[in-house]
Subunit: 216 residues, 2 copies
């Protein structure tokens, strides 16, 4: 496991013991999260846009409408992509030591736009399959119009870091005698019973990839 940050920018400086730089830890967090937040520099300051992502090997794939500001601005510019999973609220003995359990990843880099239609088609299929494993087998192939209306960016994961907090509160020694409850309220993302589109023209059973949806 590589525990050296790839750059000073992604190095975890505050509480460095929470920093992780190995590819497996970073991949696990990216794969569990569905949504990332992409930071761009614009003439009017930074802007942060939420979007779906999928990791394929050592690349993070971002996609969207060819008309979107995010994708038009992000290509060939240095961007930052941040993913965060919030695992719990940490209730400490003082307001000061209250905290959050989380797993986050920060990636810096310059994305490459995938413009070749054949490559785009293949990668978009992989992306959908990553987001909803099993779905691709039910879908017709993308057509050329759809491919041209979609932008696809590939961001290398070589400049990335993870930051993780787990466990209970860490209070100052003298506060452990205070008579109040301390602990963690766990948080997680849950997936509910699928809602069938009321505009269905035929009866098709809900697939298990929808009714049993979950992240790895």
């Amino acid at each position: 496991m590589d525990q050296t940050p790839a750059s000073d920018t992604v190095a975890v400086k505050r509480l460095p013991e929470r920093g992780h730089y190995d590819a497996a830890t970073i991949a696990e967090i990216l794969d569990e999260a569905l949504v990332c937040h992409v930071g761009l520099t614009t003439d009017d300051g930074p802007i942060v846009i939420p979007t779906l992502h999928a990791r394929i090997g050592d690349q993070l794939l971002l996609h969207g409408s060819a008309a979107s500001r995010l994708l038009r601005t992000a290509r060939d510019q240095r961007i930052c992509v941040t993913v965060s999973l919030i695992d719990g609220l940490v209730l400490a003995r003082t307001a000061f030591h209250h905290s959050v359990n989380y797993r986050s990843v920060v990636i810096m880099g310059t994305p490459r736009e995938i413009t070749d239609l054949k490559e785009k088609d293949t990668v978009l299929d992989q992306l959908v399959e990553r987001l909803i494993p099993g779905r691709m087998a039910d879908l017709r192939p993308n057509n050329e119009k759809e491919l041209r209306a979609t932008s696809l960016l590939s961001l290398p994961l070589d400049e990335a870091s993870a930051k993780i907090r787990t466990g209970g509160p860490n209070d100052d020694a003298e506060d452990y005698d205070l008579e109040l409850w301390a602990g963690v309220v766990p948080m997680s993302t849950t997936y509910g019973e699928p809602i069938t589109d009321p505009n269905m023209r035929m009866s098709v059973p809900t697939p298990s990839y929808a009714s049993e949806y979950g992240r790895p």
Copy 2:
């Protein structure tokens, strides 16, 4: 309800029908979410950092260690704060029309640092109470050392927009005859059974604000 964007930067350009600019819609999303993503400009490009937030009136409060890069860099600089709630995966009849139901807010502005210790004390108490309603009554007051070790930033909400997608898939007319399931897999954040700190020195019942934790 004001439906005019406060600036061109926060105006929703892609799918403008999803844009909302009234304070009530923006407040509701900010209040439900616990975590925001803050975008900053650095010499090495944009950086996006997840952190807790609380809305108090027409201000968004951000806090953290006085030593944190986020808070040192963000004060007196134009920043972007983005909050997103993901409500569902939208499974359409083609890969192209797959989507996500979400409610997001983007705020642009220059935060003011609250340095006056008395004001900081009052606002930090409000912030904790927003994050965990009921908790403050159990906590001892902050001491001066804790106040000095905490940075607190206040960002006005006057330049903000919300973007919301709800409902089922929107497919192209000719695809409704495809024989496959379409619909929405709902997503939400859930809070589990509290885990009492194993380092408790006395038995204190779990407070209802922890066992029945939920967002407004």
